[in-house]
Amino acid sequence: MIFRSVRRRAFLIATAIGAVLAALPSASDAAAPRNTLVIGVDTSDTITLDPARMSQYTPPMTLKAAYETLVTMDPGDYVNVKPQLATKWERTADGKGYRFTLRDGVKFASGDVMTAEDVKFSLDRVLNLKDQPAQYIAHVDRIEVVDPKTVDVILKDPSQPLLTILAAPAFSIYEKKIVAQHGGISDSSAKDADKATQWLDQNSAGTGPYKIAGWERNATIQLVKNPNYWRGQPGFERVVIRHIGDSAAQLLAVRRGDVDVAFNLIPEQIATLKDNPEIVVQREPSLDFVYMAVTQEPEFNPALAKKQARQAIGYAIDYDGIRDALVGGSAIRPVSFLPIGTNGSTEQLTREIGFRQDLDKAKQLLAEAGLPDGFSFELSYGNASIVGVSYQLLAQKIQSDLARAGIKANLNPMDQVNLRTQFTTNKSPGGVLTFWNPPAVENQLWASATVERVARRVHWQPPQEVKDVVSRAAAETDLQKQAQLWRQYQEAMVDNANLVILFQPIYQVAVRKRVAGFQLTGAGWMADFSAAKPVQ
């Protein structure tokens, strides 16, 4: 009848359109194929591109393309900092800070030469804006310009690490003249008087290979090449970072060549790209991890207050099953809160002193704790996923693993707000599944967190020896000795069994073969495309 064929006709037209569209190159990417790098990633957490206010997960990738820092970390080496805008650094004469010698011949995108004044401006602004990044350099007292090529960073507490932290994109160096022109203030009135954020959201004044040309929230971030880049001409004319929230859409887009890189594919989707002749799946171990924090507050759960009960949890979980089945094999597992790749944490060490699945041992520990029939506790988690694995799935897997040792985990899905509130206000009554990603690549940040705020959250009062080990390790400059101290620290963490690390993802990113030099990194900014260029 009439209406039915109307409906059919409409759809046929639509499908014809779809087919034609798929075949036609759309007008917007006529120039894209050769000279534009298109990246598909979920940018929904982006709320600003002002480095001094950086606290989210995805924006650092853009920042690292537009700006540079004094020192940086090479992908895969998360122990030694490498020179970037500074070529040399040493302790100041009085030992209270670091003296950085700046690189010659570095120009901003505007063409002006970078000097120590710009460094002072940028770092002062972070300190005085008092937004989240400022916390990580709270031990910095002041920045001093010695001469146009030398900068001193004086610390309040010289034993605290600085270099590794300065590698984070939040401490990018930008051009004082331009940012000040757009309302940037770096002195103590910055907190209320600074107005540059709005401009920095849409532009950049950095030394990186590309400069920000625009940002449309939840849509695109546009970058264009910086012709004054000190390392030579960047490989692409433009870079477009496209927000694609749906992993299936990212898969289709990278398959069709609409995007060159897809960041958020889930393991099942990655598996389908195995034999694709046009795509290579790059893998890079991250420094993030998913862990379970278990309280020891007797008022919340008397069973969990017993150390052996918590250790039993650590020995009951099927880590390999989680890694192979849920994460598609793409994960590693550190001993404790120091991700593998940092000094003192290796897969070998995990085999030696870390948790592993051993049901007999778990049952034995339970007997030692006086709980031969097991116990029950509440396991909370939020409505989210990491590398395509939802916490819900992970929790159910853990629940069934623990059940085999006689431990009953009652699942308690919560919304993110309640979960975070409960967790950060130290009120979690059982276990919490959550995620940790480094604000900067510095062991001390993680370790000290575990004996301070994270310890409070699980109601643990760490013994003074443990706290001392952490401080000594953080201050120790000899890497070998430092690794030994970190080993001691990790043994203590395993012994107290409040934090069980479930897995440390190896990020799998699909990159089309026409792009060379696209470098993933676990250092916190996901990727470095300063050396990326089209394959000729």
Partner: protein, 337 residues
Amino acid sequence: MLRYITSRVAIAALMAVLATLVIFLIANTVPGDPVLTQLGDLAASNPDYVARFRAKWGLDLPLWEQYWVFLRGIVHGDLGMSIASQRPVLDDILQYAPATIELSTIAFALSLLIGIPLGILAAVRRDSWIDHVARLVSLIGVSSPTFWLAFIMLAIFYGGLQIAPGPGRLDPIAFPPPTVTGLFLVDSALVGDWDTFWDAAAHLVLPSIVLAAATLGLITRTTRASMLESLQQEYVRVARAKGLRETMIVTGHVLPNALIPVVTLGGLAYANLLTGAVMTETIFSWPGLGRYTFQSAVSLDFPAIMGITLMVAVVYLVINLLIDFSYALLDPRVVRR
């Protein structure tokens, strides 16, 4: 008549505001603190930071004062700042509204285009196979869970047959047309960008079919029942006796009367669609109000929640008012009651 109108409008406005009050109260009984999800781990444990953030968002004021700030803002057209996106809620709503309007309107038009003729034919050929088919189609449409139907459509036409484009309003690497209305079909046509036009149209196909499915059932059944009722009327017999052709009777006399209840229910259904279909928008990654509603609820973004509640309440109340007014115009007895 004027008094009737003004009193109804006043009551409606009051109700919209009351709705926001109720939501505000409920949302504030939740023990969670939305601020903590916006801060990184270190900052969230730092009482100074938390306090400063709360002060910035006015969350440290007593409850009644927070609500008062909100009310004052409404008068100026300011719905507050969203904690999650850190920009005015009104901006958020204006950004996401066109996507929903476009989708809902197309879906609604589709359900009318199919539903009304189907209903008419079902009424006119009662108990024939077409009547049964119409009934089956509408029942299946109404019985399918939207979230599942969306998945099935995507799985079959996008994943399996690969003839439909994927989720989203446009291809992932396409760029939206310059914003005039926010409706991609309109905006791209205005500048003659036909590539984008067809892209947007193709992306609209699956989600509007999904959304139309349930509304279709409603429209078909209402049209059928209303037609049957009208066909009973005296004047139809008279017209037949006079010798008028059947088609003339149906289209010229019966149909206009029969469509009144359809308009009523259709209006409500449209309002339903407009206030955002969370499931469909979530599965199709449609950046519309439904998805925004869900995300704001999930992150306890108070200003956004209240802004949305206000908007939804206003839409419903306005449409209800319009429907009631149309009755009042048609039937003066209504006013007195």
